[in-house]
Point group: C2
Chain length 406, copies 2
C-alpha cells in the first residue's frame, strides 16, 4: 500500500462530498485539471502538471480515473489509492506536439469508456486547463454538454479535517523556522540571494521530526524601493544600511501551507515605515481577535477597515484568502476572500491567510498570519513576534524564535 | 533606469522579430500571457502569474502594453523598460471573484484604446490562458477576430543572443554546484528532504560572483522504486543502503536555465542499474558528438535510438527539448523536441536539454546535459562527470566538482 497522506475513509468522504456537489450542479462526469484537486481526491503527487493530465470523477463509479503522460503513470501507481486499471497513460508523442494534443487522447478515452455524451464538468478557470485544451475536448466530444465547475472541489476543500489541520500546524512550524532563518541572515553587505538560500533550506529541511515540502510560491523578498509591490523575488544585490525588506513565505508539509509575512529593516525604520507598521500590527491584532464562526468574510475585513480608517489609512486590496493544500503557482484556494462583498460564513476548521500588506510608491509593510477558525474564535497557526524586525539580529528589537509577539 | 537583464537594442530586436511573425500570421494585436514571453519582450519579472496578466503587442505601437493587477504595477514599473503610461492596472476586486474576471477588464481596456475589432493573436495553449479567460475575451470583444498564436514568441526565443548564452553558462555553473551539493549529501540515514535542502540552497546562493534565481521546476528526486518515474519530488524518508536516487535539477540565472540530471546509488548499483547506465552514458556521449548545425531534431534522436537499439533497448519518450528562459511550471520552451517527426533544423545558438532518462517498472536511470549548438558542433554547458555516482562520497566512483567526465 502506498504511503497516502490520508486514510481511505477520508478519501471516500471527499469523493462523497464531491459527488454531492456534482449532483447539485447536474453534472455526471467531472474532469479535474487543478493539481490540488487531483491530489485531494486521489493522492496523486508529482511535478507533472506542466503537461496536460486529469482526474475523471464519474457519478456512478466508485473510483476516479487518472489520465496522464505515460512516464508519469508509475508515479500515479505509487502515490494514489486508485486501482491500476484506473490509470490511463497517453503516449509521449502527444507531449508538446504541433499536431497532436493530449486532450484528443482524453476525449478518445472518455468515448471508449462510454462517457462521450454526458453532462461534463470542467474547471474552466484552472491554470492547467487552457483555452486550447477546452477547444480540443469540445471538438472531439461534440455530444458532451460541458458545464463550468471551477472551484467545485476547492469548495469541498475549504473546511479541513483534523488530519489536514495537523499538517498545517506542521507547516507553521516550518514557516517559523524559515522566517527566522531569513531574518537572521539579513545584514548589510549580504546578498538577497543568500537570504533566499537560507529560507529555502529551512523550508525543505523542516524540523528534525518532519521534513518540508516545496511551497507553491517561492519566497517573496522585495527590498528597498521594491517594497512598493509584493510579488518580486530576489536578486544578487547586497543589502545596504537602511533597506526595508518584505519577507513573505510559507512552510509546506505534504502540500499543505502555512504562509506568513514579516517586514525587516536594516538599521532603524524610517518614520514612514514605523508609522505604517504600527497601523498594520494593531489592525492585524484587532482583526484576528474578531474572527469567530458565523462571521462573514466581509465582516472580518470591515473590522480591519475600520481599524485603519481611524488612523487615516485605506487598503484597496483584499485582506486575505482561504488557504491550505496547493501546487504552484499559488497556495491560495481561490474560494473565499476577506474583502467587501464576500459573504462566505466562517466555519470551524476553515483556514485563512490574513495578509494586511500595504504598498505605496516607494515603500511598503507586510505582516501576516495564517489562522484556523475554531469553535469560538481563531487559532493563529504560527508563533512568531508581530513586529518590524531590526536587522542584523542582536541590534535591538529582534526576539528569539518561538517567543510570542501578540 | 531599471536594472534590465538585456540592452534596449536587444529588446528592440525581439519586438521586431515578434512583429515580423505577427505580420506573417496576419495578426495585428498579440495578447501574451506566457510569463516567459512577457519577460522576454518587456523585462517584466515577478511571481504574479497566479493572477491573469498580459503583455499586449500592437503592430503599429513601438512599446507593448502591460495589463496586470494593481499591486503588481509598481513591479512592472521597476522591472520593465516600458513607459509608465503603458502600464494598465486592474482593481483588486477582479482577483478571484465569483462575478468579475480580469479578462473583462482587459477587453474593456483594449476597447478603450481602439483595439476591439482587430485580428488578435492569443496563446491558446499557454498555462496561464485558461478556457475561461478566452471565453470572457470573446464575449466582451465580439468583433475581434481571434487567432491562435501559441509559441509565436517561443519560436523567436529559440536562437539565443550572446548575452542569453552567457546567462545560461552562469546557470550551468550553478547547476554543477547544486548537483554536487545533492550528491554530497546523499547517504544512508539522511532524509530525502535534507538532500533537497542542500540542493535548493546551492541553487539560490549560486556562486560568490553571481547569485542564483529560482528554477522553474523544483529538484526532482525520486528514489528506490520511485525511480520508475521521473517527476516525483521528495519525502522525509531516510535513504537506505542500496537505494538508487535520480537527481534532475537546474541552475537558474536571471530566469535562464541549465538543467542537468544524474543518477546516484547508495552502495553498489545493481546489475540492472549498472547495465542500463552504461547504455545511457554511451548513447548520451555518441549523440552529443553528433550534434551540429544543419542536423534536424529527429536526426539527433535517431543517433541515440540506433545507439541503444544495438544493445537491445528502446526509449519511447522524447530525448530532449529546447530550453532557456522560463517560469514555473516548466523550463522547456515547448518548441522543438528531440524525437522522431520533429524536423526542426538545429542552428548555432540554439540550446537543448538532452535527457536520455529511462524508467521501467521498478527502476530507472537518468543522465542529462544542456548543450549549445555552436558553429561546428555543440558545447555542453556544464562540466560534470557522466557517471553513476556511488554515495556516500569517498566510497569509490565519485569525482570532485569540475572534473570532466566525457
Amino acid at each position: 500500500m502506498n504511503d497516502l497522506p490520508f486514510s481511505m475513509m477520508e478519501y471516500a468522504e471527499r469523493i462523497h462530498q464531491t459527488k454531492k456537489r456534482m449532483e447539485a450542479e447536474g453534472v455526471e462526469v467531472l474532469l479535474l485539471t487543478d493539481p490540488a484537486n487531483m491530489h485531494y481526491l486521489s493522492g496523486y503527487d508529482g511535478w507533472s502538471f506542466y503537461v496536460p493530465q486529469m482526474l475523471v470523477v464519474i457519478l456512478e463509479e466508485e473510483q476516479p480515473i487518472w489520465i496522464g503522460r505515460k512516464q508519469d503513470a508509475n508515479g500515479a501507481r505509487l502515490t494514489t489509492w486508485l486501482h491500476p486499471d484506473h490509470l490511463i497513460p497517453y503516449p509521449d508523442d502527444y507531449v508538446q506536439s504541433t499536431h497532436k494534443h493530449p486532450m484528443d487522447f482524453v476525449a478518445d478515452s472518455l468515448t471508449q469508456i462510454g462517457q462521450w455524451d454526458r453532462r461534463t464538468g470542467v474547471e474552466m478557470d484552472s491554470y492547467y486547463f487552457t483555452a486550447q485544451a477546452y477547444e480540443r475536448l469540445r471538438r472531439r466530444m461534440p455530444n458532451a454538454r460541458f458545464q463550468d465547475c471551477t472551484l467545485l472541489v476547492n469548495r469541498v476543500r475549504m473546511v479541513k479535517s483534523d488530519q489536514e489541520i495537523q499538517y498545517m500546524r506542521k507547516a507553521a512550524r516550518i514557516a517559523e523556522r524559515a522566517m527566522h532563518a531569513g531574518l537572521e541572515a539579513i545584514a548589510p553587505g549580504v546578498r538577497e540571494c543568500d537570504v533566499a538560500a537560507q529560507i529555502v533550506h529551512a523550508q525543505m529541511s523542516g524540523t528534525p521530526e518532519f521534513g518540508g515540502d516545496y511551497p507553491a510560491i517561492v519566497p517573496l523578498l522585495p527590498s528597498d524601493e521594491k517594497t512598493s509591490t509584493p510579488h518580486l523575488t530576489w536578486t544578487d544585490r547586497p543589502y545596504k544600511q537602511g533597506d526595508t525588506v518584505l519577507l513573505e513565505l510559507a512552510g509546506c508539509y505534504r502540500r499543505y501551507h502555512a504562509p506568513m509575512a514579516r517586514t525587516a529593516v536594516i538599521g532603524s525604520p524610517s518614520n514612514l515605515v514605523r508609522d505604517l507598521a504600527e497601523v498594520v500590527i494593531e489592525g492585524l491584532n484587532i482583526t484576528l481577535d474578531a474572527v469567530k464562526p458565523g462571521i462573514t468574510c466581509e465582516e472580518v475585513e470591515r473590522v480591519w477597515r475600520n481599524s485603519i480608517e481611524r488612523k487615516g489609512w485605506l487598503k484597496e486590496s483584499r485582506l486575505g484568502y482561504s488557504v491550505g493544500l496547493n501546487y504552484p503557482p499559488d497556495w491560495g484556494e481561490h474560494t473565499a476572500s476577506l474583502r467587501a462583498g464576500d459573504r462566505t460564513v466562517l466555519q470551524p476548521n476553515m483556514t485563512f491567510h490574513m495578509i494586511p500588506g500595504m504598498w505605496f510608491d516607494s515603500y511598503g509593510v507586510e505582516l501576516s498570519e495564517t489562522f484556523l477558525v475554531t469553535e469560538n474564535g481563531c487559532e493563529v497557526l504560527a508563533t512568531f513576534p508581530r513586529e518590524i524586525f531590526q536587522c542584523p539580529f542582536g541590534s535591538g528589537m529582534v526576539h528569539p524564535l518561538g517567543e510570542s509577539g501578540a
